[in-house]
């Protein structure tokens, strides 16, 4: 078995772990509006290591899961995650972001953009939109980015991240 194949299997296992954390750990963490979004971390880390089309497809699948399991407007999360997945893959190519902090920043920005699209697509009223985008989304972006850093440091071999920042 080649090392490239082993890396892909490990990557799949890490993404599976994040999936389990999203649905088993996150409900226990208290306020869901500020707790880390493990699925988005998985999406961003995957998209930044794959092509734009794969990123978009992964985003669509993640969004479909969220649309199915959360009582929001069906299709809004799919649309948002598709865009975020595609942009993550595109941004990686533009910014050459191999640094862990840049990766974490990508995650934070990706989460905020995702929230913007979901909220706009769900016809949220202006006051709630403002509150969510200026208060809850930034906090959740920070917690998600912090956990993304932990994941990157723990599985740096899997994600092949350079540490010479």
């Amino acid at each position: 078995m080649s090392s490239r194949r082993v890396t892909r299997i490990q990557l799949a296992l890490v993404l599976l772990l994040l999936l389990v954390l999203q649905f088993y750990l996150r409900p226990r963490l208290g306020n869901a509006r500020v707790s880390p979004d493990f699925l988005l971390i998985g999406l961003m880390l995957f998209a930044m290591r794959s092509g734009a089309g794969a990123g978009a497809l992964a985003g669509f699948l993640v969004g479909l899961i969220e649309d199915t399991l959360t009582p929001a407007r069906f299709g809004a999360a799919a649309l948002a995650h598709t865009v975020v997945g595609y942009l993550a893959a595109w941004g990686r190519a533009v910014f050459f972001a191999d640094n862990m902090l840049v990766n974490a920043a990508f995650v934070a920005v990706g989460l905020w953009v995702r929230d913007v699209i979901v909220l706009l697509a769900s016809d949220t009223d202006h006051r709630q939109l403002l509150t969510e985008l200026t208060f809850y989304s930034p906090i959740q972006a920070l917690t998600t980015a912090a956990f993304a850093l932990v994941v990157l440091m723990t599985f740096r071999a899997v994600f092949s991240v350079r540490l010479d920042a």
């Binding site: 892909r8 999936l19 389990v20 649905f23 088993y24 750990l25 996150r26 409900p27 226990r28 930044m48 290591r49 794959s50 092509g51 734009a52 089309g53 794969a54 978009a56 497809l57 985003g59 669509f60 969004g63 479909l64 899961i65 649309d67 199915t68 399991l69 407007r73 069906f74 299709g75 809004a76 799919a78 649309l79 598709t82 865009v83 595609y86 893959a89 990686r92 190519a93 697509a121």
Partner: protein, 366 residues
């Protein structure tokens, strides 16, 4: 899948993007029934493991919250249960005190006992009332169960009461049947008897059975008549055949008294009617009286039998002396002395006390 190291944008990526965007928009603008059906199908099939995971997580979270709530409730209940018996006891005491205050015919002041953390705390009590409330030295202090002591000194807002446990405490007393008078004082027989009283100066001829209630007699002018002082539980000693000293179980315990009444009115009345009406105390006293009667009748029966036997022996000796030619006597036909009816000799039952020694308390004849 193409990794970043050899990434290149192809038409396939663009097609995938637009395909996903199109599907998303279809989902977004499709009828609710259609989108809900798709979501329900997905939840029931490929996403069912995730739903199961989420359900377990929610269950765990709510179980934890419920467990915390149950634990908090249990702790609260346990905490309250610790104080429940003492609160009930205090409530009962306060009720008794209230009932006593209604029955008292003399003026009184309710006082709180401010216990001090000393070993001799029960000998003198600090009360939360003073001369401002009308308390004066030598005012009697009573609890629902009976006598606690007497006021020793008074300041404006507090006073010191000398309880019956104080070595200098004395109260003139009599038994509930009225057949024996004496003075009650703290026991002097060392540590083992600390917390007991002695009923001293009871004439040797006056028998006081176990369980007899001893009340203040009103003699001396300090304590009104009729306040329960204690119950006879044994004999301490007999002084050379002319006096008996009985041991009393005190009616009231100064060490546990939290609220008392200070009698500030006239001391000439009889307070006996104020004390026995509480159900528990009344039951104790009725039992005490019943036991006193029972013991007294048994004692008198035994005494009568002893007297009869003694008289028979005396008569036999006398008849022998009279009929004996050596002693110069004449034979007689006198009958032996008959045993007397015990009811006629019981002081409690209206009889006249005899001068013969009574059966001592603790005798097996009980």
């Amino acid at each position: 899948m193409t990794f970043a190291t050899d990434r290149r944008y192809t038409r396939r990526d663009t097609v995938l993007l637009f395909l996903c965007l199109a599907l998303s928009l279809v989902g977004l603008f499709s009828p609710a029934a259609w989108s809900n059906g798709v979501a329900a199908t997905l939840r029931g099939t490929v996403l069912s493991p995730l739903v199961w995971l989420q359900a377990r997580a929610e269950e765990g979270r709510t179980s934890r919250v419920r467990f915390r709530a149950v634990t908090a409730e249990r702790d609260s209940a346990a905490y309250l249960a610790q104080f429940l018996p003492s609160l009930r006891a205090e409530n009962e005491r306060l009720r008794q005190l209230l009932r006593l205050s209604h029955r008292l015919t003399t003026s009184y002041v309710a006082a709180e006992v401010l216990h001090q953390p000393q070993a001799t705390d029960s000998r003198t009590l600090l009360l939360g009332v003073g001369s401002r409330q009308g308390v004066a030295p030598f005012n009697p202090v009573v609890a629902p169960e009976g006598l606690i002591g007497v006021i020793l000194s008074v300041s404006r807002t507090s006073s010191i009461a000398m309880s019956w446990a104080h070595p200098e405490f004395r109260v003139s007393a009599f038994t509930i049947g009225g057949n024996a008078f004496g003075v009650v004082a703290p026991s002097i027989e060392g540590r083992n008897n600390e917390g007991a009283l002695e009923f001293r100066g009871v004439p040797y001829r006056d028998s006081v059975p176990l369980g007899t209630l001893v009340l203040s007699s009103g003699l001396g002018g300090v304590f009104p008549k009729g306040i329960p002082v204690g119950t006879v539980i044994g004999t301490v000693r007999e002084e050379a055949g002319w006096e008996r000293v009985y041991r009393l179980r005190p009616a009231a315990n100064p060490g546990s008294a939290a609220h008392v009444l200070v009698l500030i009115g006239s001391r000439g009345g009889d307070l006996a009617a104020a004390f026995p009406s509480d159900s528990l105390l009344e039951a104790i006293r009725l039992d005490s009286i019943a036991r006193a009667r029972r013991v007294d009748s048994v004692a008198q029966a035994v005494k009568a039998a002893t007297q009869a036997a003694r008289a028979a022996r005396a008569a036999r000796r006398d008849s022998l002396a009279r009929t004996s030619p050596i002693l110069g006597g004449t034979p007689t036909q006198q009958p032996a002395v008959q045993p007397r009816d015990s009811s006629r000799t019981s002081p409690i039952l209206g009889g006249t006390p005899t001068e013969q020694p009574a059966v001592q308390p603790g005798d097996s004849s009980r």
